[in-house]
Structure formats: C-alpha cells, structure tokens
C-alpha cells in the first residue's frame, strides 16, 4: 500500500493553514473527505493513487488544518476550496467528494463550472425531501451512528470505528492520548456542524443545473444515513450525470466496498 506524504499548505495571512495528504503519480485527483475526515489512508484512496496523483486536503479543524474562524459561512468554505486548488496548482482536476465533501464538491462545481474537469459524488448531502430526511448526525451519540454508516457492522472498518467511539463513554479515566483523539474528533465535527447544522440543505438543488463537469453519482444501496432516493434527484438536475449503485454497502462506500468503488471511479476518470 502506498503511504501518503503529508505537507502543509499556507494559504496566506489570515487564511487557513491546510494539511494535504498526497500519493501517486499521474493526472491530478482532488479528494474532499466527509465528516469523519481521513482517519487513516485506507479504503479506496490507495487504489486511486495507483493511477492518479491524489491530493486529499483536510478541511480546517481536521487533522493539522486550522483556520475555521476564517470561514464565516458556506460561501467562504467553497471559495476556500478554490484557494486550495489554486495553491496546489491544479488545472481542472478530477474532483471526488464524499458525503460532506460531496456536497462541497457539487457546490464548487456549480459555482465555477469551468474549473472542475470531472466530478464524482459519493453519497453527498445537500438535498432534502421530507419523506426521506437525512439523519441528524449531530443529535446522537457517536456509537449510535455506526448502524447508519455501514451495511455490515461486523466489517473491519465498522469495528474499528466502534472502538474509537467507546472513548465517548461515561468514565473519566481516559489517558491523555485518548483525550487528544476525542478532541481531534470533536474539532472535525465542529467544522461540519458550522456549515451543516441543523439541516444539511441550503439551496444546492436550484444550482445543480450549473454543473458542467461529467458527474458520476455513487450510492450504497443500503445507505441509511442519506437515502439512495437522492441519487435520482442529482442525476435529473445535473446535465451530464450517471448513477452507480453499490450493492451490500452503506453510507461509507469507500470503507465498506473500496474495490468496486475504485474501479468505477477509475473508469469514470478515463471517460468511460
């Protein structure tokens, strides 16, 4: 497995300082992570780095990235995304966004359609139907989230996440290292909450027609967090879009079914 390099991207005075994970060689691929950040370089990212130069910037509050206070609202966040693309020197990259990152990628592609080459959205949030409310990730205990994130809760990734959430127990006997892990997790969640609390919808649907990049929409068939019905809405509203549904898979497709996902993403990147 390729090990990613971490580097720091300074976006200028009074702007965020960003940690970027990088691996592989080839055409540029920008990966925008979900609410859990990139806890470890795993799942489908190593598979993508076999063909692409993968850039995975961490949003302010995640990893070593700082500067959330510079981003007052969603618009600031999207413009920040373009600042990162520019600082990395990427030209019309292939952008893949997962969940929270998928919403951000879609908004960016609608805002500056010419600057995104290709797009893949992995179970993105950002739309709303009353009959299929997106689950409130901010209104439950971390451990209770797991059934919403995975189809198979016995899989390795689900088990490891369960171990982590055990730290949110009601005992005060955590080690300093565990306290730091908790604080890291809560910092990331804080970032997501700043932009998506309490209802993760702010008009993306009426902007989707602006997206010009060929867009692949990927959904786990058993996604209980963000219903697969949203895949059809994305496909209808985006001019050039296709949907792939991954069987036996929940919300975190990249962790639960990395191989079929990476294969689909690589094919999409080559225009197939």
């Amino acid at each position: 497995m390729t090990t990613p390099q971490s580097r720091t991207l300074n976006l200028g005075d009074g702007r965020p300082v960003i940690e970027v994970l990088e691996a592989g060689e080839g055409a540029p691929l920008l990966f925008l992570h979900g609410a859990g950040g990139i806890v470890a370089w795993e799942g489908m990212l190593p598979l993508l780095s076999s063909k692409y130069h993968v850039y995975a910037p961490l949003a302010p509050g995640f990893g070593a990235s700082t500067g959330l206070e510079c981003l007052e609202d969603q618009f600031d966040l999207f413009m920040h995304g373009f600042d990162v693309i520019e600082a990395l020197g990427l030209e019309r990259p292939y952008v893949i966004g997962e969940s929270f990152g998928g919403w951000m990628a879609a908004e960016m592609a609608a805002l500056r359609p010419k600057e995104i080459g290709r797009l893949a959205l992995l179970a993105p949030v950002g739309l709303w139907r009353d009959e299929a409310p997106v689950v409130d990730i901010f209104g439950m205990l971390p451990g209770e989230l797991i059934p919403y994130l995975f189809h198979d809760q016995s899989c390795f990734a689900a088990q490891r996440m369960m171990m982590l959430t055990m730290l949110f127990n009601d005992k005060d006997d955590r080690t300093q290292e565990q306290v730091e892990i908790l604080l890291t997790m809560s910092r990331g969640f804080r970032t997501v909450a700043k932009f998506l609390f309490p209802v993760p919808e702010n008009g993306l649907e009426r902007r989707l027609w602006r997206i010009e990049a060929p867009t692949l929409i990927v959904w786990g068939e058993q996604d209980r967090l963000v219903s697969p019905i949203y895949a059809d809405i994305f496909r209808e509203k985006i001019v050039n879009a296709e949907v792939i549904r991954v069987p036996e898979t929940g919300h975190l497709i990249g962790l639960e079914s990395p191989a079929p996902l990476a294969e689909a993403l690589l094919r999409w990147g080559q225009g197939q």
Binding site: E72, F138, G139, M140, L141, P142, E144, F168, N169, D170, K171, D172, V179, L183, S186, R187, F189, R190, V192, A193, K194, F197, P198, V199
Partner: protein, 424 residues
C-alpha cells in the same frame, strides 16, 4: 444574604414507565403526553405558589426558560413574569430566561424586559442565559458553533438599546437594524441587574466579571461538584483582581422542609424521585453538540461531556444518597437551616435560589415547605454576608411609590359607575 423562590414548572404526569419508553424528557418527547386541561390547573397552581412566596417575604420570585420538554413548562419566561408583575408587590422578579441568541431581533428582549421593569416598578432582574444545547441548538436550530458569538452580539445590542437616548444603527453579524430605538425604557438605570446562569465555563465567569454581572450556578450535580465549581469561580475572580463579594454569585439548591427529617423523606421522596429520574432523564446524544463547548472547557473537564451527563445529575440515587451528596437539602427546619448555613458559607454565595417545588410535588406539600422555610429558616440566613453590599439587586421604586394592581379601578369606581344624567 438573599433568597429567591424559583420555579422550574415541571409537568406532573410523566408515566411510570417513562424512562423505558422514551429516550429523553427533552426535544423530541411527543407532545401527545401533554394534556392542556391539566396544564391549565398546573400553571395556576404554580403561579399561586410563587405568589405565596411573595406574601411570605422571600426576596425574589424566579422563573426560567426551556423549550419542548416535560421538565419545564416555560418556553416564555416573560409571560410568567408578566403574570407575577401584576400579582406580586414586594418580591423582586428574577427572569433567568431569555436565551438572548434565540430572538430575532434581540431588541425584542430589550423591549419585553423593559415592559416588565416598568410594569413591576423596577423589580426586574434580567437573566441572560446562553441556554442549554437542547433548547438552543436542537429545539431552536441555532448553530452550536456560532451560538456564543451570536449571544455576545445580542448582549451588546440589548445593553446599547437600554443605554442610548437617541436612535442608532446596528450593523451586526447576526442582526442588521437601521433604527434601534427601544420604547419603553426600563425604570432601573442604566438597566436592570443582569444575572448569567451557567454551569462552570471559564468564559462565562470572565464575561460576568468584566461586566459586573452576577454569576448564577445552576446545576443538579450535588454539593461536591458544586464546591469544586465555585472554588474555581472564586479562584478566577481572585486572579482577575475582583473583590470576593458573595453577592456576585448565586447558587441554586433544591430544598424540602417538613416537620421532621423522617416526615420529610416519607412525604417528599416520591416527588424527588420523580424529578431526578423522570424530569432529568436526558438523552446524552443531545447534550453536547459539536462546537457548543469551547475546547478550553472540554479540556478543563469541568462541564458535562457527551455521555457522562447521567453520572452527575443525581439519577438512580436513593434518598439517603441524594441528601448526603447534597443534591437536595431536606429535613426538619433545624436540619435545613444548618445545611443552608454551611452551604452559603462554604460556597460563598450571597444569593440562594431555592427549588422548593420539586418534581411532582403537590400544592399543599410545597406550600407547607415554603411556609416552614420562611418562618424557621429564612430569618437565620438573612444576617449572613451582611458586611457586604449587594450591587446585583434591583433598584426598584420604594414600595409606597409602586402601583397597586386594581387600585386605579377602585379609585374611580364610584364616579365611573354613577347613574346616567338624563337630559331634562
């Protein structure tokens, strides 16, 4: 010292299997459980209790603000305070609600509190809570990450609206108002005393200290934890170079008084049990949304974190454990007097908030307790801290200058109801 008689106004009919059937008392507890006709009686009983406390000479009567729950029936504390303003005459009126970040524009709060101050003859104490996550984030949809910032802006706007004598423009991040010009203005100048309820965040302590506000510690987590929290408060005040005036601090304590210790346990246990095991049945997934607490507070570990709320709130404890742990002060007048004196001195609080109605307690039991406290305990507490001046108390009109509700009708009644003058 001074004592205020404070009501939480819980709903009295949460079912016996409440804890098994519902994950919490707050936010998403179906309102099908609420019976408005019972509610009619409950509101009127609860207001009667507060009026009785006024008649017995408690220094203040208090109400607070919570939303969407079975634990407190006061989404609008100002409505309760308005009812009290007309039906009480001596006691000050403590409104420990108005989570000021929730109101748009915040000048609405400046207006309503000014109305209360004017109607009551300057008896208002204005509470400015940030508000619990359940109330502010989950019920009212405020973003937990920006809530405190919005709170500070709302605070600055309200204070300016009370101080300025000319219209001004407010270009805030959260409120944009071309013309701020609040009518009416409070009687108390420059504004009513401000009390800020909180658990124990350093930010809240500093906020109070910088502005000369009273810090009101509201917790149900027992004496040991209270001592730790208030020790932290006084240490912080010393560090900031503030005088250790006990009146800068209020402590809330639930209290029940009966004729004897044994009678107290027998009479009050069902209602205390109801409070701690039904009213405080909180779902921990909704007590700490991301960003609500500052990282410094999380690190300090002195505020409830996700998952450990049930640990500190006195749930699943026996009467003996609750009494010994100081979650409640309960017993005969002599017992309660001794414990209250110890509490006031060791926590160094000049103001004591009394939760004298607890859980499902009925009218007669509550009034008996209130009466025993007023006659057998209160006189002994008054001299404590008399060497200090209370800068956090309303400057109300003198009692003889305050209007008597209904008095104007009486004064003109005979003339208003005179026979018509028939034309000749």
């Amino acid at each position: 010292m001074k004592v205020n008689w404070f009501h939480l106004m819980p709903y009295r009919w949460l079912p016996d299997d409440f804890r098994e059937r519902y994950h919490g008392v707050w936010v998403d507890l179906p309102n099908a459980l609420y019976d408005p006709e019972r509610g009619h009686t409950l509101y009127n009983e609860y207001l009667d209790m507060l009026e009785y406390a006024d008649q017995l000479g408690f220094d203040a009567v208090g109400v607070n603000e919570h939303h969407q729950n079975g634990y407190g029936m006061m989404p609008s504390p100002n409505l309760m305070a308005a009812a009290l303003a007309r039906r009480t005459s001596k006691a000050m009126i403590l409104v420990l609600g108005n989570s000021i970040a929730l109101y748009n524009p915040p000048t609405r709060v400046a207006e309503e509190l000014a109305m209360l101050d004017v109607i009551s003859g300057g008896r208002l104490i204005a509470g400015f809570p940030v508000g619990t996550p359940m109330d502010t984030n989950y019920c009212y949809g405020e973003n937990p990450v920006t809530l405190r910032d919005k709170y500070r802006e709302a605070h600055d706007l309200i204070i300016k609206a009370w101080r300025e004598r000319e219209p001004f423009a407010w270009n805030g991040k959260y409120a944009k108002l071309r013309y701020v010009n609040v009518w009416p203005q409070p009687i108390q100048k420059p504004h009513p005393p401000i009390w800020v309820p909180g658990l124990s965040s350093i930010e809240t302590w500093d906020f109070c200290a910088e502005r000369g506000y009273n810090y009101s510690n509201l917790s149900f987590s027992g004496y040991k934890r209270a001592q730790k929290m208030l020790d932290g408060y006084w240490e912080r005040m010393a560090k900031l170079g503030k005088e250790a005036n006990p009146y800068s601090c209020t402590f809330f304590q639930q209290i029940c008084v009966s004729d004897t210790d044994e009678a107290c346990e027998r009479e009050w246990w069902p209602h205390v049990d109801y409070f701690f095991n039904r009213c405080l049945h909180l779902y921990p997934g909704m007590t700490a949304p991301p960003g609500y607490m500052t990282e410094a507070s999380i690190r300090a570990g002195i505020v409830a974190q996700a998952g450990n709320t049930s640990m500190n709130l006195g749930t699943n404890k026996s009467w003996k454990e609750l009494v010994e742990g100081g979650y409640i002060i309960a017993g005969s007048p002599a017992t309660v007097r001794q414990r209250c004196e110890e509490l006031a001195r060791s926590l160094r609080c000049g103001h004591l908030g009394l939760g004298m109605h607890i859980g499902s307690a009925p009218m007669e039991l509550t009034n008996r307790s209130t009466y025993l406290f007023a006659t057998k305990v209160l006189p002994h507490l008054r001299p404590i801290w008399s060497e200090w001046e209370d800068h956090w108390w309303p400057k109300a009109l003198p009692e003889d200058k305050r209007e008597k509700p209904g008095g104007h009708n009486a004064a003109v009644q005979s003339r208003a109801e005179r026979p018509t003058e028939e034309p000749l």
